[in-house]
Symmetry: C2
Subunit: 347 residues, 2 copies
Amino acid sequence: MPVGTQGSVKAIEHRELLAEDARIILGNTYHLYLRPGTEIIQKAGGLHRFIGWNGHLLTDSGGYQVFSLSDLRGISEEGVQFRSHLDGSLHQFTPERVIDFQRTYGSDIMMVLDECPPYPCDEEYAAKSNALTVRWARRSKEQEAKTERLYEHEQALFGIVQGSVYPAIREESARMLSALEFAGYAIGGLSVGEPADLMYRMIELTTEILPTEKPRYLMGVGTPENILEAVERGVDMFDCVLPTRNARNAVIFTSQGRLNMRNAKHATDFSPMDPACHCYACRSFTRAYVRHLFKAGEILALQLATMHNISYYLTLMRSAREAILSGTFPAWKQSVLGTIAVDESAE
Amino acid sequence: MPVGTQGSVKAIEHRELLAEDARIILGNTYHLYLRPGTEIIQKAGGLHRFIGWNGHLLTDSGGYQVFSLSDLRGISEEGVQFRSHLDGSLHQFTPERVIDFQRTYGSDIMMVLDECPPYPCDEEYAAKSNALTVRWARRSKEQEAKTERLYEHEQALFGIVQGSVYPAIREESARMLSALEFAGYAIGGLSVGEPADLMYRMIELTTEILPTEKPRYLMGVGTPENILEAVERGVDMFDCVLPTRNARNAVIFTSQGRLNMRNAKHATDFSPMDPACHCYACRSFTRAYVRHLFKAGEILALQLATMHNISYYLTLMRSAREAILSGTFPAWKQSVLGTIAVDESAE
């Protein structure tokens, strides 16, 4: 899922996302709640209408941004209090309010409010935090049952497995949430600084427990490598700012590895950013031109690099699905990891 | 002509320009000479190829930027010496070199090097400056004759009428240049701070003299009002950064006047930016959404506003052509001036 934090996937048009077969994008409840605010989205007739997006929308619960971005004032049984990073105003998110917001948005997939502990965090805190997250998940489920959808389409609610890097807590979390029978399950609190191996282990033991017939969504991950390893461990869905943020920093993902489009070596390279890619940017423009646009500070550089990286990621996911269906995933994955290993982006 | 200073019309894709029926865009010789440099453009096979643009290209002579942007070191009979605004490096432009650059670019329309005097400037300086501009124009014509095009397509060379706001000098300039038989004629040195009435008078007396069968191009102008007045006085071509620069500052041109998309009044306005416009931005998105994008600092705001303003300007020009052909220009112009008069952009 390309990330459209504030109701726009940065530097790319909706029709271009659809052309790359992006069927769902993510919006951030924290950002949208603060700006433009729930009232304006309600007046517009929901988030799809407000932003003019005809595909699906997943909104997160805002929890992650409250913990990472806002000035956090306190966590209680009731919810979280925080000050806006925009104007310092004081706000409270509770599991119930967060469901209400997402009812107003009309998100196709709603997420429960959770606490995302930092890494590292000690086992005692992780256990206490997870217990709270599970109690909040139950209240979210109850609020979902108590409230009606406001628009024509169905809304699914996903629970979020936490537990930091502690196997027993992760397993407990996965079991408790499975019992609550969510429409899908997210794995949260990973890719927050822990070693990749530890992340993969946590994914593995979580997906072992989660019901196989429901989607599993690894939140905020990640690099192509991370995604392939997680897919192999049974994860179905991902979101990450990496393709779009990297693009704006001139770093592109290609079939020839990770390239930095500012590098001097591209100055007279009149081949496409990625010869294997069929996006408009790769069909129409050369590395030399894209490099020039980055060096000259042109907005078009951000547009073309973003379009390409989105295309790369969505093609990667489509290819992974095809490889799974044809029973060739392990070999396919190895071949992709070979191309991914080339990284000149830090040169 | 939308302005693509550094080889990109800011914040809009080439295919979107073509979709709005932009058949020619402008590139700036000064900028392109400094970055990426003539050598890279030559290696790419010309400017069309370097930037991947299949429409026509006009390049200016670089004169205007040398006088307005660089650290000017001196004007001599030979040419101009200046230091780059990018790195302070020392460069010289002569009429001959500027033709050579544009041969390398392969510009469909090349412009002669001219001196663009500031406003105000005294009559003596204006006369001396114009005499130099005319001598440079003659040398440009000779250099054009001495050199060959490097690519398949024809290259036209335009002269530039100067003379500040002095009727006699303007007329002298127009007469001398007409005698040199350029493929087209630009009117330069206007819209540099003089009152609009004075500009219109200068245009009028210049177009009276210039041959009617050749295109007349008013450089760097302007607002929709300016353009309509100049069209009425016989001008055929324009370039201006106004539609694109204004767009990036949230100011849009519409059939309902000039709007500032940051204004609070648009917060819950779910109508299109311009109900009369058929561009993708107006077909797909509301003022409320575009305002949100501007307030949130989203790049998509710049993309949508730019696309719309380009569409507005090109529709304006198309409508002017149709009105002229159907003999209804004066009435049509009055009706457009009525809508243009509304300006809430400074509110």
